[in-house]
């Protein structure tokens, strides 16, 4: 998918070309699934949410303005799908992360080193408020401008900056504890 003309694909998709939309799914699938996982903490739930998001986007493709960027439009739909699923499955937690999340909530710096870095990071993310997770992941991991994140989440840009700051601080605490574990 390197060198793909996303704008051209989006314009074709907007005209009802399902193959073009399929190419956009292949292009943005990993990002959508990462963002959904940051909210839902469970890979199956994340994939379900991303899938619902893509399908909703496909069904609403007639409302997409092809003169505007496709990625933020799509990501807003995926985030909404993940939030909906999160609300519906709030009681459900993942077995694999339960112990780490609980430990991180009690004392992020103590138990994080027991798990690998990826698991620790996911667990640390799970301790953050939903908005902070999204702000950090969308900004630092996915490269969205803060103004675009603000529009996507319906919050002021200053709030995004603040959420990124607090989210980073919490994640750094966990990462430092993991590094300390490795150094010992």
């Amino acid at each position: 998918m390197i060198g793909v003309d996303e704008a051209a694909l989006a314009a074709r998709a907007a005209a009802g070309d399902s193959d073009a939309f399929g190419d956009l799914v292949a292009l943005h699938g990993p990002m959508a699934r990462r963002v959904a996982l940051s909210l839902l903490e469970d890979r199956q739930d994340a994939d379900d949410a991303a899938q619902e998001g893509f399908l909703s986007a496909w069904l609403a493709i007639g409302r997409y303005d092809a003169r505007r960027a496709f990625r933020p439009w799509l990501m807003q739909i995926v985030v909404n799908a993940a939030r909906d699923l999160r609300r519906r499955r709030r009681v459900r937690t993942t077995d694999s992360l339960d112990h780490v999340v609980t430990a991180a909530r009690d004392d992020p710096a103590r138990d994080a080193g027991a798990a690998d870095l990826g698991e620790s990071l996911r667990a640390a993310l799970a301790t953050l408020p939903e908005r902070q997770r999204l702000a950090v992941v969308l900004f630092d991991a996915e490269g969205y401008p803060q103004a675009e994140i603000a529009t996507m989440l319906g919050i002021p840009e200053g709030t995004v900056k603040s959420d990124v700051f607090h989210g980073r601080r919490a994640l750094r605490k966990v990462l430092e504890s993991v590094k300390e574990e490795w150094d010992e």
């Binding site: 009802g16 399902s18 939309f21 399929g22 799914v25 292949a26 699938g29 990993p30 699934r33 990462r34 963002v35 996982l37 940051s38 890979r43 994340a46 994939d47 991303a50 899938q51 893509f54 399908l55 496909w58 069904l59 609403a60 493709i61 007639g62 870095l117 990826g118 698991e119 990071l121 996911r122 993310l125 950090v136 992941v137 900004f139 630092d140 991991a141 996915e142 490269g143 803060q146 900056k161 603040s162 990124v164 700051f165 980073r168 601080r169 994640l171 750094r172 990462l175």
Partner: protein, 108 residues
């Protein structure tokens, strides 16, 4: 992650990379295939709308064709009737044709 100022607008590349790795999904091909399959079963709203308008349009066009055909047939029948009366008058085969032609010429 060296600068934690809330106003700092640059991405933290190191943290971003670690987050992408931690959240990396598996089997993107299977995911895409699953969505393509579901897309085939679900058409966008505008296509549904188009399909609905297509059938309504087809019904309207059919009705218009029937009406136009009926009007054309009626018109052709009238013209044919007018022509046959004129021929009969000119041939003189119709009884009283000479009287009718005479009165027509007087009116002119």
């Amino acid at each position: 992650m060296s600068d934690l100022s809330p106003d700092w607008a640059s991405r933290d590349e190191e943290l971003g990379g670690m987050l992408r790795a931690a959240l990396a999904p598996h089997h993107n091909g299977a995911f895409v295939t699953r969505i393509r399959a579901r897309m085939a079963a679900h058409q966008p709203a505008w296509q549904d709308e188009l399909a609905r308008w297509f059938w309504q349009g087809l019904v309207a066009a059919s009705a218009a064709i029937v009406v136009a055909g009926w009007a054309w047939t009626q018109s052709a029948t009238t013209q044919q009737a007018d022509a046959s009366v004129a021929i009969e008058l000119l041939d003189g085969t119709r009884p009283g044709a000479d009287v009718i032609l005479a009165s027509y010429s007087v009116e002119r």
